[in-house]
Amino acid sequence: MNTRDSISDSSLSEVRREFKGERGDLIPVLQRVQDIFGYLRPETIRSVSRWLKISENEIFGVATFYAQFRFHPPGRHHLRVCLGTACHVRGGEQIFMTAEQRLGVGPGETTADGQYDLDRVACLGCCALAPVVAFDAKIHSQMSVLKIQRILDEHKNA
């Protein structure tokens, strides 16, 4: 076992105590691991594979199926633009394009300075206040092209 493996193994011990280690625990385990590390590293997947006795291939197959899992280090801040139906008909797509332009990255990407992640999200469930975006944990409602620019500019300058 190389050193990187043992590092992730020791952090995993915390996770191990929370679960029985059954097959059905795979997705909650990956969610917990992502909570801790921010993303799924190949080494962690290897450790989970040994622990749950599921092949790395299969774990990768499961993880890539779900939109929630990421395989690259996340940026420090997370901008999610909602593109649910209500947001779409109220101009969500235009807000997403503005965010793309301002940050200079596409969906699922992180800015070069590691500051911002940009994502499209299917629905945040705040449809009555559409269009909405989630900047980190805060949801901003009734967005406009100018409002999203202001939020990003103010954050950058803060």
Binding site: A67, R90, C126
Partner: protein, 623 residues
């Protein structure tokens, strides 16, 4: 804990609730569901806390769920001693001191931002909140507690006859409960509308040591948030429903499969489950009976297809969420190959009401074939947006115009059933909302998203949006769904870009049939619906895109252009300052010039002209 001690606890809770109604201390209720928080409820609460502290007032703040009219958020209610709860809408933090001063210093009801009072009888000439045009036609059964009680306080739920329905169950054989549900006419509220009792019976009759109950809270349908609101506003109602269902089908283990995108709902559920354990309605030998049941929460990981029963089961088992062939249906062989019942949040939330008030009472609402009430999220281009509950059989027109207050621009269509449903035009406004009539019109009831669109919404673009959604969410198992939806998106993109031909419309229809016939699950089976209904009811709009290369709603980017109206432009330079490409130029105080070759149609100039500039409407978008 026995039934007797539960009754005693309920009595105590009832007196606590009664004390709250006659509280000697002022109470301030804040609508703090996700929608309220998004609208700024936290800032309002902070302003209230600041005011109370500064003026040394011994007031109590209670967070409640969503009461329904989300367009009025943030909502704040004030209950002074001897007065009913008085509700204020669209409250900004800066409004708080004024409202408070009126109550605490002038000793009179504040008039600004007043929405109505929540009392039963006439008070001070103030209108009743529930008499507002949006709320009056509604029948609140599932939503009876939402926005009224503190969802984190079990006593509030108990005081309003909480767990009484389940308590009744314990003294009845399962056959009798099944019969009650049968007589109530309850059908699955997740969308398909299958009679709840029939599914349950199949499961119960399967010989098995272990049966499972799953609450489907994977509300992935974009534009729908009924389940989120119900869980956030009244989590115990859903959990009590799970107890009733589990007792009837003989399940000992339950799961709530909920979207990770709903963190507040998850938090509420977790807390409620701990409270259930303390109350003794979860675990071994519940309330001294031989019924044992436990509930675990499984968070979804972001896959729309997991709302499909067999995919959801695969996901709980730790696999890729891909549907499988049915039969066997989950009621026969589901989770870990054991008989499993999957019920929607709303179906479960309805059960305690039916058990408490009786099957005949519930069946008194709705139509012959679709009984009871249904919650809908009324959103889009409608004036009054929010969460509503109406008896089934109400006409679309009543929902859109009486409850929703109509649209600002001329009404165009109402989209029901989300990505599996269809766009219904004006001629369908008198269609009663029930399972049969919506299906006849080519749409479906779905889980309850009602998205209203007006003349500013392009139907072709909307169809492209839905197909784009299902294409991304297709699990990839069946080729017609995986590849077919991709081709449909490409064709729709071509039409929106102005490169479409008439033959493309036929191709779309042909592909739709292939996808419908060749897909295993309902994601693929219904994916073409939005395109098919749009083609049927709004063909002229497609023709405009294809033949005239025009987008009548002025939405499709390739077909629109921006223009400055020289006669209106005052030359205030606001648009110049926001244009990211330098397409707008012109000296101050003179009409500006817009260079179309540089314009990327980002809409910044249009917005700033409408909201911040002097002229207000000097920039137009045309097609």
């Amino acid at each position: 804990m026995s039934i007797r001690t539960l009754d005693e606890r309920r009595k105590k809770a009832a007196s606590k609730w009664a004390d709250l109604q006659t509280s000697p201390a002022p109470l301030i209720f804040i609508g703090a569901a996700s929608c309220g928080l998004a609208a700024g409820a936290e800032d309002v609460q902070e302003a209230v806390e600041r005011y109370l502290k500064k003026n040394k007032i011994d007031g109590r703040i209670i967070q409640v769920g969503c009461i329904g009219p989300c367009y009025l958020e943030p909502l704040m209610d004030i209950q002074m001693p001897g007065q009913p709860r008085i509700s204020y809408s669209n409250v900004r933090p800066s409004d708080v001191p004024l409202i408070m001063e009126s109550f605490f210093e002038k000793k009179e009801v504040a008039k600004s931002r007043l929405a109505g009072h929540l009392g039963d009888v006439e008070f001070d000439g103030i209108p009743r909140f529930f008499d507002m045009p949006m709320l009056k036609p509604q029948v609140r059964i599932v939503l009876r507690n939402c926005g009224i009680i503190d969802p984190d306080d079990l006593d509030h739920y108990l005081a309003r006859d909480g767990y009484l329905g389940f308590e009744k169950c314990l003294s009845l054989p399962w056959t009798e409960i099944l019969d009650t549900i049968k007589r109530s006419g309850l059908r699955g509220r997740g969308g398909a509308g299958f009679p709840t009792w029939r599914k349950w019976l199949t499961c119960r009759e399967m010989p098995s040591e272990q049966r499972y109950l799953i609450c489907n809270a994977d509300e992935g349908d974009p534009g729908a948030f009924m389940n989120r609101s119900l869980i956030e506003g009244d989590p115990h109602a859903v959990l009590e429903g799970m107890l009733i269902a589990a007792y009837t089908i003989g399940a000992s283990q339950g799961y709530v499969y909920i979207r990770a995108e709903y963190p507040l709902a998850i938090k509420r559920l977790k807390k409620a489950i701990v409270q259930m354990r303390e109350l003794g309605v979860l675990g071994q030998n519940i309330l001294g009976s031989d019924f044992s049941f436990d509930i675990r929460i499984k968070e979804g990981a972001g896959a729309f297809v997991c709302g499909e029963e067999t995919a959801l089961i695969a996901s709980i088992e730790g696999k890729r969420g891909m549907p499988r062939t049915r039969p066997p249906f989950p009621a026969v062989s589901g989770l870990h190959a054991k008989p499993t019942i999957i019920n929607n949040v709303e179906t479960l939330g309805t059960l305690p009401n039916i058990l408490r008030q009786g099957a005949e009472w519930y069946a008194g609402f709705g139509t012959e074939t679709s009984k009871g009430t249904k919650t809908f999220s009324l959103v889009g281009k409608v004036r009054r947006t929010g969460l509503i509950e109406v008896p089934l059989g109400m006409k679309l027109r009543e929902v859109v115009f009486d409850i929703g207050g109509g649209t600002l621009k001329p009404f165009k269509a109402v989209q029901t059933g989300g990505p599996s449903g269809g766009c219904l035009s004006e001629e369908f406004l008198d269609t009663p909302i029930d399972y049969e009539h919506l299906a006849e019109a080519g749409s479906i009831m779905g889980s309850g998203g009602l998205i209203v669109v007006d003349s500013d919404t392009c139907i072709v673009d909307t169809a492209k949006y839905f197909l784009g959604f299902t294409q991304k969410e297709s699990c990839g198992k069946c080729v017609p769904c995986r590849v077919g939806t991709r081709h449909m998106v490409k064709l729709l993109e071509k039409i929106c870009d102005g490169r479409g031909e008439l033959a493309d419309l036929e191709k779309l229809e042909k592909l739709s049939r292939t996808i419908k016939n060749g897909s295993l699950c309902q994601l693929g089976g219904t994916a073409p619906n939005p395109a098919l209904t749009s083609l049927k009811y709004f063909r002229s709009e497609f023709i405009s895109h294809v033949k005239d290369k025009r987008c009548p709603a002025v939405v499709c980017k390739s077909l629109v252009s921006y223009r400055v109206i020289a006669g209106k432009c005052t030359g205030c330079q606001r648009c110049v300052s926001v244009c990211p490409t330098g397409a707008i130029t012109g000296p101050r105080s003179e009409p500006h010039n817009l260079d179309r070759t540089k314009c990327i149609k980002c809409r910044s100039c249009y917005e700033i002209c409408r909201f911040d500039a002097i002229a207000g409407d000097a920039i137009i978008i045309e097609s």
